[in-house]
Amino acid sequence: MHGAFDGLGRFAEPWLLVLTSLADGPKHGYAIMTDVAAFSGVRMEPGTLYGALSRLERRGWIRPLDTAERRRPYEITAAGQEILAGQVKAMQQIVQVARLRTATAWSA
Protein backbone atom coordinates (compact mmCIF):
# COMPACT_ATOMS: atom_id res chain seq x y z
CA MET A 1 0.00 0.00 0.00
CA HIS A 2 1.20 3.44 -0.71
CA GLY A 3 -0.35 6.88 -0.82
CA ALA A 4 -0.99 10.24 0.72
CA PHE A 5 -2.38 8.68 3.90
CA ASP A 6 0.63 6.59 4.73
CA GLY A 7 0.70 8.18 8.18
CA LEU A 8 -2.68 6.73 9.11
CA GLY A 9 -1.07 3.73 10.77
CA ARG A 10 -3.68 1.26 12.00
CA PHE A 11 -6.41 3.53 10.56
CA ALA A 12 -5.12 2.45 7.16
CA GLU A 13 -5.13 -1.27 7.95
CA PRO A 14 -6.05 -3.07 4.72
CA TRP A 15 -8.83 -5.09 6.35
CA LEU A 16 -10.44 -1.93 7.74
CA LEU A 17 -10.24 -0.18 4.38
CA VAL A 18 -11.76 -3.20 2.65
CA LEU A 19 -14.61 -3.43 5.15
CA THR A 20 -15.26 0.30 4.76
CA SER A 21 -15.30 -0.06 1.00
CA LEU A 22 -17.83 -2.91 1.17
CA ALA A 23 -20.04 -1.08 3.68
CA ASP A 24 -22.14 0.53 0.94
CA GLY A 25 -22.53 -2.61 -1.17
CA PRO A 26 -20.75 -5.53 -2.83
CA LYS A 27 -17.67 -4.89 -4.97
CA HIS A 28 -15.18 -7.03 -6.82
CA GLY A 29 -11.40 -6.84 -6.26
CA TYR A 30 -10.43 -4.06 -8.65
CA ALA A 31 -13.51 -1.97 -7.64
CA ILE A 32 -12.39 -2.24 -4.00
CA MET A 33 -8.90 -1.02 -4.92
CA THR A 34 -10.19 2.01 -6.82
CA ASP A 35 -12.76 2.81 -4.13
CA VAL A 36 -10.16 2.65 -1.35
CA ALA A 37 -7.86 4.88 -3.37
CA ALA A 38 -10.72 7.35 -3.89
CA PHE A 39 -11.85 7.70 -0.27
CA SER A 40 -8.51 7.27 1.54
CA GLY A 41 -5.76 7.97 -0.96
CA VAL A 42 -4.27 4.58 -0.14
CA ARG A 43 -3.24 2.69 -3.26
CA MET A 44 -3.46 -0.98 -2.42
CA GLU A 45 -1.58 -3.51 -4.48
CA PRO A 46 -3.26 -6.79 -5.49
CA GLY A 47 -1.10 -8.87 -3.15
CA THR A 48 -2.14 -6.75 -0.17
CA LEU A 49 -5.80 -6.72 -1.21
CA TYR A 50 -6.08 -10.47 -1.56
CA GLY A 51 -4.20 -11.04 1.67
CA ALA A 52 -6.87 -8.92 3.40
CA LEU A 53 -9.77 -10.50 1.50
CA SER A 54 -8.69 -14.03 2.39
CA ARG A 55 -8.34 -13.19 6.09
CA LEU A 56 -11.67 -11.35 6.19
CA GLU A 57 -13.38 -14.21 4.42
CA ARG A 58 -11.90 -16.76 6.81
CA ARG A 59 -13.15 -14.77 9.79
CA GLY A 60 -16.59 -14.57 8.27
CA TRP A 61 -16.62 -10.77 8.01
CA ILE A 62 -17.10 -10.81 4.25
CA ARG A 63 -18.50 -13.42 1.88
CA PRO A 64 -17.90 -14.08 -1.82
CA LEU A 65 -20.80 -13.85 -4.20
CA ASP A 66 -21.22 -15.68 -7.48
CA THR A 67 -18.56 -15.00 -10.04
CA ALA A 68 -19.45 -12.77 -12.96
CA GLU A 69 -16.99 -14.01 -15.61
CA ARG A 70 -13.68 -13.79 -13.78
CA ARG A 71 -14.81 -11.09 -11.37
CA ARG A 72 -15.99 -12.22 -7.96
CA PRO A 73 -17.81 -9.63 -5.89
CA TYR A 74 -17.58 -9.63 -2.10
CA GLU A 75 -20.14 -8.36 0.36
CA ILE A 76 -19.82 -7.50 4.01
CA THR A 77 -21.55 -9.87 6.44
CA ALA A 78 -23.49 -8.94 9.55
CA ALA A 79 -20.46 -9.91 11.64
CA GLY A 80 -18.32 -7.68 9.45
CA GLN A 81 -20.73 -4.77 9.86
CA GLU A 82 -20.60 -5.25 13.61
CA ILE A 83 -16.81 -5.27 13.63
CA LEU A 84 -16.66 -2.22 11.38
CA ALA A 85 -19.14 -0.35 13.57
CA GLY A 86 -17.06 -1.21 16.63
CA GLN A 87 -13.91 0.00 14.96
CA VAL A 88 -15.55 3.23 13.80
CA LYS A 89 -16.81 3.85 17.31
CA ALA A 90 -13.35 3.31 18.79
CA MET A 91 -11.81 5.55 16.18
CA GLN A 92 -14.42 8.24 16.80
CA GLN A 93 -13.60 8.11 20.49
CA ILE A 94 -9.91 8.51 19.72
CA VAL A 95 -10.67 11.37 17.35
CA GLN A 96 -12.94 13.06 19.92
CA VAL A 97 -10.33 12.87 22.69
CA ALA A 98 -7.64 14.03 20.33
CA ARG A 99 -9.75 17.01 19.25
CA LEU A 100 -10.55 17.96 22.81
CA ARG A 101 -6.98 17.70 24.01
CA THR A 102 -5.45 19.51 21.08
CA ALA A 103 -8.02 22.29 21.38
CA THR A 104 -7.28 22.65 25.11
CA ALA A 105 -3.54 22.57 24.64
CA TRP A 106 -3.57 25.11 21.80
CA SER A 107 -5.92 27.53 23.54
CA ALA A 108 -3.92 27.46 26.78
Partner: protein, 446 residues
Protein backbone atom coordinates in the same frame (compact mmCIF):
# COMPACT_ATOMS: atom_id res chain seq x y z
CA UNK B 1 11.39 -2.05 -13.66
CA UNK B 2 9.78 -1.94 -17.10
CA UNK B 3 5.95 -2.32 -17.04
CA UNK B 4 6.14 -5.38 -19.31
CA UNK B 5 8.62 -7.08 -17.04
CA UNK B 6 6.61 -6.16 -13.93
CA UNK B 7 3.49 -7.62 -15.55
CA UNK B 8 5.17 -10.88 -16.50
CA UNK B 9 6.73 -11.20 -13.06
CA UNK B 10 3.42 -10.43 -11.32
CA UNK B 11 1.56 -13.08 -13.32
CA UNK B 12 4.33 -15.56 -12.66
CA UNK B 13 4.11 -14.87 -8.92
CA UNK B 14 0.35 -15.49 -8.91
CA UNK B 15 1.18 -19.00 -10.11
CA UNK B 16 3.66 -19.44 -7.26
CA UNK B 17 0.98 -19.33 -4.54
CA UNK B 18 -0.10 -22.60 -2.88
CA UNK B 19 -2.37 -24.81 -4.96
CA UNK B 20 -5.41 -24.31 -2.76
CA UNK B 21 -4.97 -20.56 -2.84
CA UNK B 22 -4.66 -20.61 -6.62
CA UNK B 23 -7.84 -22.67 -7.01
CA UNK B 24 -9.68 -20.08 -4.98
CA UNK B 25 -8.21 -16.72 -6.07
CA UNK B 26 -6.14 -17.16 -9.22
CA UNK B 27 -8.73 -16.15 -11.83
CA UNK B 28 -10.02 -13.10 -10.03
CA UNK B 29 -6.49 -12.03 -9.14
CA UNK B 30 -5.49 -12.23 -12.80
CA UNK B 31 -8.56 -10.18 -13.65
CA UNK B 32 -7.39 -7.51 -11.21
CA UNK B 33 -3.90 -7.59 -12.73
CA UNK B 34 -5.43 -7.11 -16.18
CA UNK B 35 -6.98 -3.84 -15.02
CA UNK B 36 -4.29 -2.62 -12.66
CA UNK B 37 -1.25 -0.53 -13.62
CA UNK B 38 1.48 -3.04 -12.83
CA UNK B 39 4.73 -1.80 -11.35
CA UNK B 40 7.63 -3.16 -9.36
CA UNK B 41 5.52 -2.55 -6.21
CA UNK B 42 2.84 -4.86 -7.60
CA UNK B 43 5.40 -7.61 -8.07
CA UNK B 44 6.84 -6.96 -4.60
CA UNK B 45 3.39 -7.21 -2.97
CA UNK B 46 2.74 -10.48 -4.77
CA UNK B 47 6.11 -11.84 -3.70
CA UNK B 48 5.22 -11.08 -0.07
CA UNK B 49 1.79 -12.62 -0.59
CA UNK B 50 3.37 -15.75 -2.08
CA UNK B 51 5.66 -16.24 0.90
CA UNK B 52 2.99 -15.47 3.51
CA UNK B 53 0.42 -17.83 1.98
CA UNK B 54 2.98 -20.63 1.83
CA UNK B 55 3.65 -20.06 5.53
CA UNK B 56 -0.07 -19.91 6.32
CA UNK B 57 -1.26 -23.37 7.48
CA UNK B 58 -4.73 -22.61 6.07
CA UNK B 59 -3.40 -22.84 2.49
CA UNK B 60 -1.05 -25.78 2.86
CA UNK B 61 -2.26 -28.93 1.20
CA UNK B 62 0.09 -31.21 3.11
CA UNK B 63 1.68 -30.98 6.50
CA UNK B 64 5.41 -30.44 6.60
CA UNK B 65 7.16 -33.52 7.83
CA UNK B 66 10.79 -34.52 8.22
CA UNK B 67 10.76 -36.99 5.28
CA UNK B 68 9.10 -34.35 3.12
CA UNK B 69 11.71 -31.78 4.12
CA UNK B 70 14.49 -34.28 3.39
CA UNK B 71 13.04 -35.00 -0.03
CA UNK B 72 12.78 -31.27 -0.78
CA UNK B 73 16.39 -30.77 0.32
CA UNK B 74 17.57 -33.65 -1.88
CA UNK B 75 15.73 -32.31 -4.93
CA UNK B 76 17.12 -28.82 -4.27
CA UNK B 77 20.66 -30.18 -4.01
CA UNK B 78 20.32 -32.16 -7.24
CA UNK B 79 19.08 -29.04 -9.04
CA UNK B 80 21.49 -26.62 -7.38
CA UNK B 81 24.72 -28.62 -7.65
CA UNK B 82 25.08 -28.52 -11.46
CA UNK B 83 24.01 -24.88 -11.46
CA UNK B 84 26.65 -24.07 -8.86
CA UNK B 85 29.26 -26.00 -10.84
CA UNK B 86 28.45 -24.00 -13.96
CA UNK B 87 27.63 -20.59 -12.53
CA UNK B 88 30.38 -20.60 -9.89
CA UNK B 89 33.33 -20.61 -12.29
CA UNK B 90 31.47 -18.27 -14.66
CA UNK B 91 30.81 -15.82 -11.85
CA UNK B 92 34.36 -16.10 -10.58
CA UNK B 93 35.66 -15.56 -14.10
CA UNK B 94 33.46 -12.49 -14.53
CA UNK B 95 34.68 -11.13 -11.22
CA UNK B 96 38.27 -11.76 -12.21
CA UNK B 97 37.63 -10.18 -15.55
CA UNK B 98 36.19 -7.05 -14.02
CA UNK B 99 39.02 -6.98 -11.49
CA UNK B 100 41.80 -7.24 -14.03
CA UNK B 101 40.07 -5.46 -16.88
CA UNK B 102 38.36 -2.52 -15.26
CA UNK B 103 37.70 -0.78 -18.58
CA UNK B 104 36.48 2.75 -18.01
CA UNK B 105 37.08 2.46 -14.27
CA UNK B 106 40.72 3.33 -14.88
CA UNK B 107 42.24 6.58 -16.06
CA UNK B 108 42.77 7.03 -19.77
CA UNK B 109 46.26 5.97 -20.79
CA UNK B 110 46.29 5.65 -24.56
CA UNK B 111 44.03 6.79 -27.35
CA UNK B 112 44.22 6.39 -31.12
CA UNK B 113 42.06 8.11 -33.70
CA UNK B 114 40.84 7.55 -37.22
CA UNK B 115 39.80 11.19 -37.68
CA UNK B 116 37.88 10.83 -40.93
CA UNK B 117 35.73 8.01 -39.57
CA UNK B 118 34.84 9.48 -36.18
CA UNK B 119 36.22 6.33 -34.53
CA UNK B 120 38.56 6.34 -31.55
CA UNK B 121 40.01 3.49 -29.51
CA UNK B 122 41.21 3.98 -25.95
CA UNK B 123 43.17 1.72 -23.66
CA UNK B 124 43.01 1.43 -19.91
CA UNK B 125 44.73 -0.74 -17.37
CA UNK B 126 48.22 -1.78 -16.43
CA UNK B 127 51.07 -1.41 -18.89
CA UNK B 128 51.35 -5.15 -19.46
CA UNK B 129 47.66 -5.62 -19.91
CA UNK B 130 44.71 -3.52 -20.78
CA UNK B 131 41.17 -3.16 -21.88
CA UNK B 132 40.40 -1.42 -25.14
CA UNK B 133 37.23 0.50 -25.83
CA UNK B 134 35.89 1.55 -29.22
CA UNK B 135 34.16 4.94 -29.34
CA UNK B 136 32.14 6.93 -31.79
CA UNK B 137 33.58 10.42 -31.36
CA UNK B 138 31.85 12.09 -34.28
CA UNK B 139 30.95 14.62 -31.59
CA UNK B 140 33.71 14.51 -28.97
CA UNK B 141 31.49 16.24 -26.45
CA UNK B 142 29.07 13.34 -26.72
CA UNK B 143 31.15 10.19 -27.22
CA UNK B 144 29.29 6.92 -27.67
CA UNK B 145 30.82 3.73 -26.34
CA UNK B 146 30.57 1.06 -29.03
CA UNK B 147 32.33 -1.98 -27.64
CA UNK B 148 35.05 -3.24 -25.35
CA UNK B 149 37.63 -5.95 -25.79
CA UNK B 150 40.64 -7.33 -23.98
CA UNK B 151 43.39 -6.52 -26.44
CA UNK B 152 46.03 -4.81 -24.33
CA UNK B 153 47.81 -1.55 -24.90
CA UNK B 154 49.23 0.63 -26.41
CA UNK B 155 46.86 0.75 -29.30
CA UNK B 156 47.10 1.84 -32.91
CA UNK B 157 44.13 2.38 -35.19
CA UNK B 158 44.39 2.23 -38.96
CA UNK B 159 43.38 5.53 -40.61
CA UNK B 160 40.33 3.88 -42.21
CA UNK B 161 39.17 2.85 -38.73
CA UNK B 162 38.93 -0.81 -39.73
CA UNK B 163 41.94 -2.36 -37.96
CA UNK B 164 43.25 -2.05 -34.42
CA UNK B 165 46.67 -3.24 -33.32
CA UNK B 166 47.28 -3.85 -29.63
CA UNK B 167 50.10 -5.17 -27.50
CA UNK B 168 49.04 -8.29 -25.68
CA UNK B 169 49.95 -9.47 -22.22
CA UNK B 170 52.77 -11.55 -23.70
CA UNK B 171 54.19 -8.54 -25.53
CA UNK B 172 53.09 -9.50 -29.03
CA UNK B 173 51.05 -7.45 -31.48
CA UNK B 174 47.44 -8.56 -31.84
CA UNK B 175 45.45 -7.47 -34.89
CA UNK B 176 41.72 -6.84 -34.53
CA UNK B 177 39.12 -6.36 -37.21
CA UNK B 178 36.91 -3.48 -36.13
CA UNK B 179 35.12 -2.97 -39.43
CA UNK B 180 32.04 -3.34 -37.25
CA UNK B 181 33.30 -1.38 -34.22
CA UNK B 182 30.53 -2.86 -32.11
CA UNK B 183 31.97 -6.35 -32.62
CA UNK B 184 35.78 -6.40 -32.66
CA UNK B 185 37.19 -9.71 -33.89
CA UNK B 186 40.77 -10.80 -33.27
CA UNK B 187 42.40 -11.73 -36.57
CA UNK B 188 45.91 -12.79 -35.73
CA UNK B 189 48.95 -12.27 -33.54
CA UNK B 190 52.25 -11.13 -35.01
CA UNK B 191 55.28 -13.13 -34.05
CA UNK B 192 58.53 -11.26 -33.64
CA UNK B 193 60.61 -14.40 -33.74
CA UNK B 194 62.50 -14.03 -30.46
CA UNK B 195 59.67 -13.32 -28.03
CA UNK B 196 60.98 -9.88 -27.08
CA UNK B 197 58.57 -7.41 -25.57
CA UNK B 198 56.80 -5.15 -28.02
CA UNK B 199 56.80 -1.51 -26.97
CA UNK B 200 54.92 0.62 -29.47
CA UNK B 201 52.81 0.41 -32.62
CA UNK B 202 51.97 2.84 -35.42
CA UNK B 203 50.07 2.61 -38.70
CA UNK B 204 51.31 4.45 -41.77
CA UNK B 205 48.94 7.19 -43.03
CA UNK B 206 47.67 4.93 -45.82
CA UNK B 207 47.21 2.05 -43.38
CA UNK B 208 49.36 -0.26 -45.48
CA UNK B 209 52.25 -0.54 -43.01
CA UNK B 210 52.27 -1.33 -39.32
CA UNK B 211 55.47 -0.39 -37.51
CA UNK B 212 56.07 -2.43 -34.35
CA UNK B 213 58.91 -1.32 -32.09
CA UNK B 214 60.72 -3.73 -29.81
CA UNK B 215 63.58 -2.98 -27.46
CA UNK B 216 66.20 -2.60 -30.15
CA UNK B 217 64.40 -3.33 -33.42
CA UNK B 218 61.46 -2.09 -35.41
CA UNK B 219 59.46 -4.51 -37.55
CA UNK B 220 57.58 -3.23 -40.58
CA UNK B 221 54.52 -5.28 -41.50
CA UNK B 222 52.55 -5.19 -44.73
CA UNK B 223 48.92 -4.79 -43.66
CA UNK B 224 47.31 -5.02 -47.10
CA UNK B 225 45.61 -8.13 -45.72
CA UNK B 226 45.17 -7.52 -41.97
CA UNK B 227 44.35 -11.19 -41.33
CA UNK B 228 47.69 -12.21 -42.88
CA UNK B 229 50.28 -9.50 -42.24
CA UNK B 230 53.56 -10.00 -44.05
CA UNK B 231 56.92 -8.97 -42.59
CA UNK B 232 58.52 -6.41 -44.88
CA UNK B 233 61.68 -5.55 -43.07
CA UNK B 234 63.47 -5.01 -39.78
CA UNK B 235 65.21 -1.84 -38.60
CA UNK B 236 67.99 -1.99 -36.03
CA UNK B 237 67.35 0.71 -33.46
CA UNK B 238 69.56 -0.02 -30.45
CA UNK B 239 68.96 1.88 -27.26
CA UNK B 240 71.96 3.98 -26.34
CA UNK B 241 73.00 5.87 -23.24
CA UNK B 242 72.24 9.57 -23.25
CA UNK B 243 75.07 11.86 -24.15
CA UNK B 244 77.13 12.71 -21.13
CA UNK B 245 76.82 9.27 -19.61
CA UNK B 246 74.21 7.57 -17.50
CA UNK B 247 72.60 4.16 -17.79
CA UNK B 248 70.74 2.98 -20.84
CA UNK B 249 67.15 3.47 -19.81
CA UNK B 250 64.53 0.84 -19.89
CA UNK B 251 63.34 0.80 -23.44
CA UNK B 252 60.57 3.27 -24.09
CA UNK B 253 59.99 3.22 -27.79
CA UNK B 254 57.85 5.77 -29.52
CA UNK B 255 56.91 5.81 -33.19
CA UNK B 256 55.30 8.17 -35.68
CA UNK B 257 54.97 8.28 -39.45
CA UNK B 258 55.27 11.55 -41.32
CA UNK B 259 51.97 12.68 -42.91
CA UNK B 260 53.09 11.53 -46.36
CA UNK B 261 54.24 8.19 -44.96
CA UNK B 262 57.76 8.58 -46.34
CA UNK B 263 59.48 8.96 -42.95
CA UNK B 264 59.19 6.93 -39.78
CA UNK B 265 60.49 8.59 -36.62
CA UNK B 266 61.41 6.49 -33.60
CA UNK B 267 62.92 6.94 -30.18
CA UNK B 268 64.56 4.26 -28.13
CA UNK B 269 63.95 5.80 -24.77
CA UNK B 270 67.11 7.83 -25.07
CA UNK B 271 67.98 11.34 -26.10
CA UNK B 272 67.76 10.42 -29.73
CA UNK B 273 65.11 10.50 -32.41
CA UNK B 274 65.91 8.40 -35.45
CA UNK B 275 64.41 9.17 -38.85
CA UNK B 276 63.93 6.29 -41.29
CA UNK B 277 63.20 6.47 -44.97
CA UNK B 278 60.35 4.01 -45.41
CA UNK B 279 59.37 4.99 -48.96
CA UNK B 280 60.29 1.44 -49.82
CA UNK B 281 59.55 -0.38 -46.54
CA UNK B 282 61.21 -3.58 -47.71
CA UNK B 283 64.45 -1.61 -48.00
CA UNK B 284 63.98 1.01 -45.31
CA UNK B 285 67.13 2.86 -44.30
CA UNK B 286 68.27 5.25 -41.64
CA UNK B 287 68.03 8.86 -42.76
CA UNK B 288 69.30 10.75 -39.76
CA UNK B 289 69.53 10.72 -35.98
CA UNK B 290 68.57 13.76 -33.97
CA UNK B 291 70.68 13.42 -30.85
CA UNK B 292 72.82 15.19 -28.34
CA UNK B 293 69.86 16.47 -26.44
CA UNK B 294 71.09 15.31 -23.04
CA UNK B 295 67.52 14.52 -22.08
CA UNK B 296 65.15 11.68 -22.85
CA UNK B 297 62.52 12.23 -25.50
CA UNK B 298 59.04 11.87 -24.02
CA UNK B 299 56.81 12.79 -26.96
CA UNK B 300 57.19 13.97 -30.53
CA UNK B 301 55.04 14.74 -33.55
CA UNK B 302 55.28 15.77 -37.19
CA UNK B 303 53.72 18.97 -38.48
CA UNK B 304 50.76 18.50 -40.86
CA UNK B 305 52.99 19.22 -43.88
CA UNK B 306 55.71 16.97 -42.53
CA UNK B 307 58.35 19.68 -42.80
CA UNK B 308 58.78 20.04 -39.02
CA UNK B 309 59.21 17.71 -36.10
CA UNK B 310 58.48 18.84 -32.53
CA UNK B 311 59.64 16.93 -29.46
CA UNK B 312 59.28 17.32 -25.68
CA UNK B 313 61.97 15.97 -23.37
CA UNK B 314 61.77 14.43 -19.94
CA UNK B 315 62.74 17.68 -18.25
CA UNK B 316 60.22 19.66 -20.27
CA UNK B 317 62.27 21.16 -23.05
CA UNK B 318 60.46 21.71 -26.34
CA UNK B 319 62.51 21.27 -29.51
CA UNK B 320 61.49 21.97 -33.08
CA UNK B 321 63.44 20.66 -36.08
CA UNK B 322 63.13 21.54 -39.72
CA UNK B 323 63.02 18.53 -42.01
CA UNK B 324 63.49 20.56 -45.20
CA UNK B 325 66.36 18.14 -45.75
CA UNK B 326 65.33 15.05 -43.77
CA UNK B 327 68.87 13.72 -43.92
CA UNK B 328 70.08 16.81 -42.08
CA UNK B 329 67.46 17.96 -39.57
CA UNK B 330 68.10 21.48 -38.28
CA UNK B 331 66.93 22.68 -34.92
CA UNK B 332 64.77 25.78 -35.33
CA UNK B 333 63.46 26.41 -31.81
CA UNK B 334 64.20 25.49 -28.20
CA UNK B 335 62.01 26.31 -25.18
CA UNK B 336 63.30 25.12 -21.83
CA UNK B 337 61.71 24.60 -18.44
CA UNK B 338 58.02 24.19 -19.16
CA UNK B 339 57.53 22.54 -15.76
CA UNK B 340 58.84 25.57 -13.92
CA UNK B 341 56.53 27.78 -15.98
CA UNK B 342 53.46 25.72 -15.20
CA UNK B 343 50.65 27.97 -14.03
CA UNK B 344 47.78 27.29 -11.72
CA UNK B 345 44.20 28.52 -11.82
CA UNK B 346 43.73 31.37 -9.38
CA UNK B 347 42.31 30.44 -6.02
CA UNK B 348 43.82 26.97 -6.05
CA UNK B 349 46.71 26.18 -3.75
CA UNK B 350 50.06 26.12 -5.40
CA UNK B 351 51.85 22.87 -4.56
CA UNK B 352 55.27 22.90 -3.04
CA UNK B 353 57.93 22.96 -5.70
CA UNK B 354 59.90 19.83 -6.33
CA UNK B 355 63.49 20.43 -7.37
CA UNK B 356 64.02 19.22 -10.87
CA UNK B 357 66.79 16.70 -11.09
CA UNK B 358 67.96 13.88 -13.30
CA UNK B 359 67.20 11.36 -10.58
CA UNK B 360 63.63 12.55 -10.18
CA UNK B 361 61.23 10.16 -11.79
CA UNK B 362 57.92 10.88 -13.40
CA UNK B 363 58.30 14.64 -13.58
CA UNK B 364 55.60 15.12 -16.13
CA UNK B 365 53.38 13.65 -18.75
CA UNK B 366 53.31 15.46 -22.06
CA UNK B 367 51.17 15.64 -25.14
CA UNK B 368 52.39 17.56 -28.18
CA UNK B 369 50.55 18.40 -31.41
CA UNK B 370 50.47 20.89 -34.23
CA UNK B 371 47.15 22.55 -35.10
CA UNK B 372 45.65 21.23 -38.37
CA UNK B 373 46.82 24.37 -40.22
CA UNK B 374 50.33 23.88 -38.85
CA UNK B 375 50.48 27.44 -37.53
CA UNK B 376 50.27 26.58 -33.81
CA UNK B 377 52.24 24.15 -31.67
CA UNK B 378 50.52 22.98 -28.50
CA UNK B 379 52.07 21.16 -25.56
CA UNK B 380 49.97 19.95 -22.63
CA UNK B 381 51.98 19.35 -19.48
CA UNK B 382 50.63 17.21 -16.68
CA UNK B 383 52.91 17.76 -13.72
CA UNK B 384 53.29 14.33 -12.21
CA UNK B 385 54.50 15.52 -8.82
CA UNK B 386 51.34 17.51 -8.26
CA UNK B 387 48.91 15.34 -10.12
CA UNK B 388 48.02 13.17 -7.15
CA UNK B 389 45.79 15.86 -5.78
CA UNK B 390 45.33 18.34 -8.54
CA UNK B 391 45.37 17.18 -12.13
CA UNK B 392 45.93 20.75 -13.21
CA UNK B 393 47.55 20.82 -16.57
CA UNK B 394 49.31 23.68 -18.23
CA UNK B 395 48.64 24.28 -21.90
CA UNK B 396 51.33 26.06 -23.91
CA UNK B 397 50.63 27.42 -27.35
CA UNK B 398 53.18 28.95 -29.72
CA UNK B 399 52.70 30.34 -33.21
CA UNK B 400 54.95 28.49 -35.65
CA UNK B 401 56.46 29.95 -38.77
CA UNK B 402 56.88 27.95 -41.94
CA UNK B 403 60.57 27.54 -41.18
CA UNK B 404 59.92 26.20 -37.68
CA UNK B 405 60.59 29.26 -35.52
CA UNK B 406 58.32 29.74 -32.51
CA UNK B 407 56.74 33.09 -31.68
CA UNK B 408 55.64 34.38 -28.28
CA UNK B 409 53.65 31.69 -26.58
CA UNK B 410 50.56 31.75 -24.40
CA UNK B 411 50.04 29.77 -21.21
CA UNK B 412 46.78 28.60 -19.74
CA UNK B 413 45.78 26.17 -17.01
CA UNK B 414 43.02 23.62 -17.07
CA UNK B 415 41.92 20.83 -14.78
CA UNK B 416 42.39 18.25 -17.45
CA UNK B 417 44.16 15.04 -16.70
CA UNK B 418 45.45 13.22 -13.70
CA UNK B 419 47.62 11.11 -15.90
CA UNK B 420 48.52 11.07 -19.56
CA UNK B 421 46.82 13.84 -21.56
CA UNK B 422 45.92 13.11 -25.19
CA UNK B 423 45.41 15.81 -27.81
CA UNK B 424 42.65 14.88 -30.24
CA UNK B 425 43.40 15.60 -33.88
CA UNK B 426 41.68 18.38 -35.68
CA UNK B 427 39.57 20.28 -33.25
CA UNK B 428 41.86 21.44 -30.45
CA UNK B 429 40.52 19.13 -27.82
CA UNK B 430 42.46 17.38 -25.09
CA UNK B 431 41.32 14.16 -23.48
CA UNK B 432 42.16 13.09 -19.98
CA UNK B 433 40.88 11.59 -16.79
CA UNK B 434 40.57 14.24 -14.09
CA UNK B 435 41.56 13.40 -10.51
CA UNK B 436 39.02 11.21 -8.81
CA UNK B 437 37.30 10.48 -12.08
CA UNK B 438 37.22 7.02 -13.57
CA UNK B 439 36.24 8.22 -16.99
CA UNK B 440 37.89 10.39 -19.57
CA UNK B 441 36.63 13.81 -20.49
CA UNK B 442 37.13 15.98 -23.53
CA UNK B 443 38.23 19.56 -22.89
CA UNK B 444 38.34 22.25 -25.54
CA UNK B 445 41.73 23.90 -25.63
CA UNK B 446 41.70 27.63 -24.92
Amino acid sequence: MRPGLAGRLSRFLVGCHPRRWRERYREEMLDVLDQHHLTARTAASLAVSTVSTHLDPAWRTERLSLPRLRRAALISAVVAAPLALILGPVGYGMWQDSYWHPAADEPLETAAFAPHTGIMVTAFGEAIDGTDVMWDVTDLSRPRRLSQFEGGQPVALSPDGRTVATITYSGQAAIWNVTDPRRPVELTTLSNGDGSQLEELAFSPDGQILAAAHYDRIFLWDMASPARPRLLGTLDAPATAPEGGGPIPFSQQDLAFSPDGAILASTTGTDQVTLWNVTNPAHARRLAAIGGLGDFIQAFTFSPRGNLLAAVTYHSTVLVYSLADPARPARTATVRGLLTRAVFPSGLPRPSETPLCAACSGLGNYAVAFAPDGHTLTVVVDRAEMSANSGRDTIFDWPVTGSGALGSGTVAARDVADFQPVIAPGDRTVLGSPPGSHAWHAWPLP
